[in-house]
Amino acid sequence: MSDSLISETVKDAVQIAKDHNGDVHEHDVHAGDNHSDDHGGHHTSLGLSNTKLAMWLFLGSECLLFGGLISTYMLYRNRHSENLGPDQLWDIPFTSATSFVLLTSSLTMVLAVSAANRKDLRNTKIYLGVTALLGALFLAGQIYEFTVFYREGLGFTTSLFSSSFFTLTGFHGVHVSIGIIMLVAMIGMLSKEKVSGDEAEAVEMVGLYWHFVDIVWIIIFTLVYLIPA
């Protein structure tokens, strides 16, 4: 991590705030409108969407969470008994299939965001629904995998390897579950017109979270499953 990136980020934020101050009078004309204007700008001190800023900050902090969990797994992945390690347990074709399902859900999610930007409500809800279904399919695969491992004798406290593996993939599974809840909630809110503010931005926020879940799995799939201990 370089200090220059942090200082550049702060400089950018200050510059955006300065640029935005020049537009205060123009924005005052639209007082009362809390959402993006015709230019895609926002009535905030930075001229950017606070919601989006908060989501990116949250995702940045999530990197730290998963960074710690992945580090822990990498440290302990060799701490297992001879007959209950990755070589005996992993089913690469099955995990590859579930990875493909999650990757496909990222496509349907980005298509949902695209439809929301076009204000195509029907397709937005369809794509969100398909994304939730694919997410549920991925989760079902993970639960099946956990069950198989448990029947093979790999419990949470069996070894340091099993503890770190279940913690890492379990945390990811919890994130997928939360994502599915967000997707279903978004479909319901769009149907009942309960979304306050910019609907496209709300869908985009769910999309950012969902893609983050996907990129974490991209790392887990390679480091945990494909690269042998």
Partner: protein
């Protein structure tokens, strides 16, 4: 891979985020590229390519990661401040990872 994609102006005069980026068709193309990379990753895990095994798999993982971040998560087309917030977290996470592994490597036993 990315040369075929448009790179429209990411910011308006306010420096604000606006909705530009690939079309739906381009998103589908990106998806097929990601699927192909995943297939190559799995194939590589089954064949013996010697010392290239680890660099190839890590390289493909990084390409997939940043393809999703840049295009699906729109970082390439949004205000750069959003990306920087994310990259700071990502950089710290990599630092934690390297520091933890190095520490255990040096002080093991």
């Amino acid at each position: 891979m990315t040369d075929t994609l448009e790179t429209p102006t990411a910011h308006d005069d306010h420096g604000a985020d606006v909705h530009h980026g690939p079309s739906d068709k381009q998103f589908v193309t990106i998806f097929f590229i990601l699927a192909a990379i995943t297939a190559v990753e799995v194939a590589v895990s089954y064949i013996d390519i010697g010392a290239l095994f680890l660099p190839v798999l890590l390289g493909l993982m990084i390409v997939k990661f940043f393809t999703v971040v840049l295009y699906f998560m729109h970082i390439k087309f949004d205000n750069k401040l959003f990306g920087r917030l994310f990259y700071i977290g990502l950089g710290l996470a990599v630092f934690v990872y390297v520091a933890a592994l190095s520490t255990f490597q040096f002080f093991a036993g």
